[in-house]
Symmetry: C2
Subunit: 340 residues, 2 copies
């Protein structure tokens, strides 16, 4: 791997995690199977039930979609009328930027780049701020909570206070709780959802390890819920997503076991990375953010060992590590990082 | 079934096909299983392959999406760069109305209502016209080709001529070829796709009998392809849709067999309906449009026999029949329509 392709790959792999194709092209000699630690997706998928043929064959029925939204509403502590299913929260992020055109969008950073991309594509000016108080000056305020990649958590009270000022000026607050399910601190905005101009995003795919299914939810105040449903149109999610989602979202025992398991694994990963000279900067149950003066070289070193982590073009001394799954993945990561 | 609930049901079931839940509530005493002849979905689903776990678990990779679009492009006779996958063509219909806000939208009618709903929701004024020449006066012209429900077919030459006038004024032409795959007349606009301001929609779910999968494509001129991709965002379709779509779209033999089978079944259905006093008004391989002075009563009669057809609120003397699948469905339809 020479320097020039590495620069290109660092940039390409910094955009989104999960691009094993690009990693393979860069390091065709790396051992298979690749270990993908570049995403924030649970590596322990919810056990797939048998999906009935009619879920694949028929257009999803209105009643079945409503049943899914009802189970999700119960899971998230929301009202069913405020709970809207979509083919992934990314689809909602894309639509919001078109539904509520805004001049100035503020994002509490450093954070997931998908929000900024979608709003810029829709013509908005997007700024990243460091302090939640600075968001009060924008038309749309976006907070990823807990934050990706560092796990920073804003309290519901601080979000409600921020919302009051923005809503009074006709603005909107978007809280992306993609990683809230597995966070034990109970700080979701959903129970305190403001009556207007507020929307919370919840990811099914990340928590349940089924990102390929494309399923996510918005919990939206009534002024946003109606237009969002209308903009998504009929049949927004697939039949298999409805069948699988209805079962998984009602399975409290699996979620609790998974939370404990991932907390344990996250602590184990932190210990491993600290021993290898990383400084841990935070994270959530599904990923850990680490700093190292040689982060770029370590990223390339891990690539050669068939392990893809997540670099950040703007922060070259940081890597985000997903939590490995299974003894062999742990062994290969430990071995590649130079432990016995 | 009394008169008042019937009026409500006629209206509800006129909006979209496939609402077996509403049909069951209306006729709880009807025999099971219900036979759904209310949609334009192929009742013979493409045989489902085994879907690898990673298609469910991982975020779909850029390379895999590109591979699907490449297979689809070959299938439709388009360039891969112009071929855009989406979670159903309805998702594209919804987005187009937001991407290219237009004041005056003309639809060649009587036709599928989803276009008008989406454009009205986005603030456009929508008019239905009877003659393709009248479309030249609009900012956006929409033609379902072959048309649903009557099968009316516009030639590529007539669409190109229409497009020239509209594009010169900065407008756009949308050709919804949801039912073109199974039409033997070879009148797709794709080989003659104009260089700008034109978009063709192709449905995967209807042709392959997998409407629950949510997969459809746009073949768009370059000025529309880029913005549409950007608006759909990353991971627009599911991992299972990519895995299943790649196989099905490359299977020419299955498609040809299916076309012949459905043409045969459509002729059989026409004969049956004519014998029962219907006048046949047209249709496509997946549905037949029939007129009968007692259409409302026959719709209710079939409901009581557990057979759902498609009424039209604005055209109370018409019913659309999907093609039955399997000997038992044919037997029940023939029996309900009063034949031995």
């Amino acid at each position: 791997m020479s320097e020039a392709p590495f620069e290109a790959a660092w940039s390409a792999l910094s955009y989104h995690g999960g691009n094993l194709g690009a990693a393979r092209r860069l390091c065709p000699e790396a051992p298979e199977p690749w270990i993908d630690l570049s995403t924030g997706v649970n590596p322990h998928p919810y056990p797939l039930p048998a999906v009935p043929l009619e879920s694949w064959a028929r257009l999803p029925e209105v009643d079945h979609l409503a049943a899914l939204e009802s189970v999700a509403a119960h899971r998230y502590g929301a009202a069913p009328a405020q709970t809207i299913a979509a083919p992934g929260t990314q689809a909602i992020i894309q639509l919001l930027a078109r539904l509520r055109p805004a001049a100035r969008v503020g994002i509490l950073g450093f954070s997931y780049s998908g929000h900024a991309h979608a709003w810029r594509a829709a013509g908005a000016g997007v700024a990243t701020v460091e302090d939640i108080a600075e968001l009060a000056a924008f038309d749309v305020a976006i907070i990823v909570n807990p934050n990706n990649p560092d796990g920073r958590l804003a309290s519901p009270a601080s979000l409600v206070a921020l919302h009051q000022g923005i809503a009074a000026r006709g603005g909107m607050v978007v809280v992306d709780e993609a990683f809230m399910d597995l966070d034990g601190r109970g700080q979701s905005l959903v129970p305190a959802l403001p009556a207007s101009s507020a929307i919370v995003l919840r990811s099914f795919g990340k928590t349940y390890g089924l990102a390929g299914l494309r399923l996510g939810f918005a919990i939206a105040s009534p002024d946003l819920a109606g237009p969002l449903r209308t903009a998504l149109g009929p049949w927004p999610v697939s039949g298999p997503a409805i069948a699988i989602g209805c079962g998984a979202l009602a399975d409290d025992a699996w979620l609790e076991e998974t939370r404990l398991r991932l907390e344990r694994d996250a602590r184990r990963l932190d210990r491993l990375l600290v021993k290898c000279g990383f400084e841990m900067l935070g994270g959530a149950a599904l990923f850990r953010l680490a700093r190292h003066a040689d982060a770029q070289a370590l990223f390339a070193h891990l690539l050669r060992h068939g392990i893809l982590t997540r670099p950040f073009a703007a922060l070259p001394d940081r890597l985000r590590f997903g939590v490995p799954a299974g003894a062999e993945s742990w062994r290969r990561l430990e071995s590649a990082l130079g432990r016995p």
